[in-house]
Symmetry: C3
Subunit: 199 residues, 3 copies
């Protein structure tokens, strides 16, 4: 479980950096950049915990998440002139965070006895809702609703984990497979520019 916690914190920092970077590009002030960083990093898990009734949410029970998100956002703000070079590597860390968040969210929902659909939704939400709130605060139609298969990667991983949960596959193994699925689909989507049909 320590491994999962470590990946969770890495993902938190990566998500916070992407949120802070959006704040910088939208010419927000320091406070705005910090808020976008924190909201992107912990927003999905917080919404999940509200819906599951597990309050205060994870990030208020273990403030390490918020401290790390603040630190990552602060670094992006302070080094914003040089940040452009890190956009690409950040995508890889972001993918790792995405896989981890989906696995944590789906697992937690199953522990709270949600059904299959609910568990997948909670996994997807944990991975994506923070970015949705980030985009709403930046006054944009959320990127995830428009293009890329960011969400499809989460759905695939969450569904796989929920299904493996019905089998004899040990949980840590199932979690590993599901997280890897999210990460691989996500990276392939970036590499080959995959997208869903659009209207």
């Amino acid at each position: 479980m320590n491994m999962l916690y470590l990946l969770d914190l890495i993902g938190t920092a990566a998500f916070a950096a992407s949120g802070a970077w959006m704040g910088v590009r939208r010419h927000m002030d320091l406070f705005g950049v910090l808020v976008l960083g924190v909201v992107t990093a912990v927003g999905g898990g917080t919404l999940r915990d509200l819906l599951l009734g597990d309050v205060p949410p994870f990030c208020l029970q273990d403030e390490a998440y918020i401290y790390i998100a603040l630190a990552a956002a602060l670094v992006v703000f302070a080094r914003r002139e040089a940040f452009k070079a890190f956009e690409r590597p950040l995508l890889y860390l972001d993918a790792i965070g995405l896989g981890t968040f989906v696995v944590i969210g789906t697992t937690k929902a199953l522990d709270f006895h949600l059904g299959l659909l609910g568990a997948v939704l909670m996994g997807v939400m944990t991975g994506t809702a923070g970015g949705v709130v980030r985009d709403v605060l930046a006054n944009q139609v959320p990127l995830i609703l428009r293009r890329e298969i960011y969400a499809s990667a989460c759905i695939a991983g969450g569904l796989l984990l929920a299904l493996l949960n019905e089998t004899a596959v040990p949980r840590p193994v199932a979690a590993l497979i599901a997280a890897a699925t999210v990460i691989v689909i996500r990276l392939l989507a970036i590499r080959f520019d995959w997208s869903l049909p659009r209207s």
Copy 2:
């Protein structure tokens, strides 16, 4: 109560279709259209349940709501070329959904011992908050804040129900009267293009 459940599911499908249609018009991809459909359909009731402390919310306790919303949104996405012809009939189903949602929300709030104002607010929120979130995600000022007496219909129905609750009128009768009030005002407003004073 089976009748109310049936109307609730019809309203859920109608709300989901209207949300999905907004997603189509905003050129979202399949995932975005599904999200807008589901959020529009269950967003109001979910927010109500969060505020009442009844978690997980109704749609995670009975996943039929989300399956129906997904199905309705999927149909709209798949048949989007032909959907324009259904905009008008959808308004009638939407009105039925509105009346049902307001009655369910107000009743539930009264069961949770909220005051008169709180109960009316919860009824209005159940009927309208999903559409507000839909518009926010589509990056628009929520339609309901700008024109039409969509909200007034909800307020009238919710208030009537909360007041009838203080009398000897049996609950199912009161619910029927309140729902009919919402539906009739809503349809009259569409027919005669009523609106509130604007600033």
Copy 3:
């Protein structure tokens, strides 16, 4: 504590007026103006209560908050032609509300055994989240994310209160000092047009 309750209600009216005024400037109808007023006034405290798990939130347990917010928003709507003259005095009432909200939110979070960071966050959120929701509903990037040290005043006051809570300083005294800190910084920021570094 009656004094704090009075200040809380004054702040509620001031926040509601600022929300309603935004609705008027965005040409919303009466319902929209009322919604923006109420959401601005009680949104921050409601989000705080959801996160702390204290539901139904304060404003549904004591409906006086919502009645006052509705009344203030109604006055702004009715007297919108003459309201411009009140924008400046409203800033002072708004500052009093801000200080009060931060103190109430931080204190409540400490009572719910949140850590220092969580308590400060809850204080800041109580003071600012209503305005954020107001701006999102008005389809604008929240003002607080872009300029002015509105948030910094809240952070300073909340942090001071959380730190004084560790000392022997009696709570009412600490609350008074913290609220005064928020109010003074806020008024100085208006007077001297202070702002945070921007990206």
